[in-house]
Amino acid sequence: MTDFQHLALKLATTQRSPDWLKDLRERGATSWSSAKWPTRKTENWKYTPLAPLQSAAPARWASTAGNDWQNDIELMDLDATRLVFVNGQFSAEQSTALPAGVVRFADANADQRLLIEQKLGTVVDAERHLFAALSNAWANDGILIHVARGQSLAKPVYLLNVSTPEAEPAVSNQRVLIILEDGSHAEVIEHYVSADSEQNGFVNSLTEVVVGNNAKIEHYRVNLEQEDLLHVGGVHVNLHRDARFHGFTLAQGSRLKRIDYQVNHRGEGAHLELHGVYLPRNKQLIDYHTNVEHCVPHCTTNEVFRGIIGDSAKAVFNGRIHIHPKAQKTLAELSNKNLLTSPTAEIYTKPELEIYADDVRCAHGATISQLNETSLFYLQSRGVTRAEAISMLSFGFINELLNQVPQQAVQDYLRPRLTTLFGKGSELVGQLAYE
């Protein structure tokens, strides 16, 4: 075991966790301690060194930092059920009343506990996802979103996770379990954010989603933590018959930000729509690993990821779609486009289609390019400066995906933040309100 593995296990022993999570924690601890620590030769972590985690080994749990962050951080403007966590600690003061079916693990009733016990850790395969094993070992508090058969949550659930700097490096563990019974619907927004000031924490986050027959979810995961916060997270989804998962994710910042999406088509007629954006700059690293398993016939996947990598930043995109022999009539598309805006920026992209069925329609592609010169000339020939044209085109490249985000509040929150990111010219776009 590495030092970090030791430390992490030691941290688990300091938690006061409920008995009914004991099994899962023990299993997690076993997987975690027996796991081989990833190196450059580990395929899944080839381009993403975990050195920052080792060097800044967090030795304690983050504490609740109060409400100091409120001047620095703006919330999304939407009418939602809001749960706020500061450094992994629940803030009742900042949160709204919870509707039936949305509950902290700590407040779960007997039925809900049973449900959590039965489902938590079953969507994710902790043997294949190292940090899911850690999340299991650390399983303690979390959020359960359970929507009963045929029901729809009246409001979106907005999970705001704020990180604030601590005197010493600290960790937080965030766990979300979403269970949609047949024919139900929910909208969940996971928003990870930190103040601009120097961060030194490590966040391990894990979301598991079960989408029942004919159920539907719009799911957002927005990771906007600043420079020094390390984040490893995953979203793991099981889709049953005619289920629909519409996902959007955007990541920015951090020396180490790794997010996995694992989606399993378990029932016929399921559809996955997954759009993602990554925008590392300076010396940041963002790594998205996605894996979609088509286990049954007649399912569809449309996956689109785009990145703009600047300065000396690095991005990794690994998108795998695995079509099992039984998964006939699958329609799957995977597209990954990247813009490099600096000669020292790096992208490692690997779209993988593994097809073992013979009657399917699949396509995948990845591109890496600079901005289109003809488009730049077109804008300049209309009087726009080259610098502004570059900003406009960069923003447009991402805005194309933003325009397709179903939740307007997410669009409205992200657009002005992206325009500041892309500089002067982009302020010209994205801000015209239409009647």
Binding site: N372, E373, T374, S375, F377, Y378, L379, Q380, S381, R382, G383, V384, T385, R386, E388, M392, L393, F395, G396, F397, I398, N399, E400, N403, G425, L428, V429, G430, Q431, L432, A433, Y434, E435
Partner: protein
Amino acid sequence: MLSIKGLCAKVEEKDILKGLDIVVRPGEIHAIMGPNGSGKSTLGNVLSGRPGYEATAGSVTFKGQDLLALDTEERAREGIFLAFQYPVEIPGVSNMEFLKASVDAMRKHAGLPGLSSVEFMKLARETSKRVDLDVAFLKRGVNEGFSGGEKKRNEIMQMMLLEPTLCILDETDSGLDIDALQVVANGVNSMRDGNRSFIVVTHYQRLLDYIVPDYVHVLAGGRIVKSGDKSLALELEAKGYGWLEDEVA
């Protein structure tokens, strides 16, 4: 207004323009015709400063300035407008935002205050009506999924909004049906004010029925081989370009 003398230009190491002379005075319409590969589109691209189109000799004076010394955007701000033969699609940037950025840039250069969003949208809507382009196109990505005719109308709309001094229409008529051709021609004619000048690059005489030129030039082998009035266009339509090439040779 525009004086081109002995202009030579190359594209990707290939000499295309080989000593071209044209003088355009305020208010004039010049048509440039010529066979494929004669350098017609190159002329528009060189004048508007497209990267890769390099002037190697000669001079271009525009409103008393050395045009070739200016950056692309400076030329635009000074009043050069190129209506593209193949307008570019830019998804993710709405047509409205693109147009406002352009108009703002022009106004700033002219020392005028920027338009408010409300003022601009009113202007954009009125202008889109003039070219018979549904206002819905303003909200879409720039030229995104526009038909050929819609793209060309969008070009003319930009021309109207930017109010350039010299408009260069690069085969704006190609791919247009008769109705769209008339819209484009009406747009151009409505912008004639005695000062604004036009260079109309075209393959076909048809456009010149609607936009009546003061001069017609035939470009062949990178030079103007013949100039005349509008009757020259009719002659070309009847006889083709072969006889001119023979004449020059």
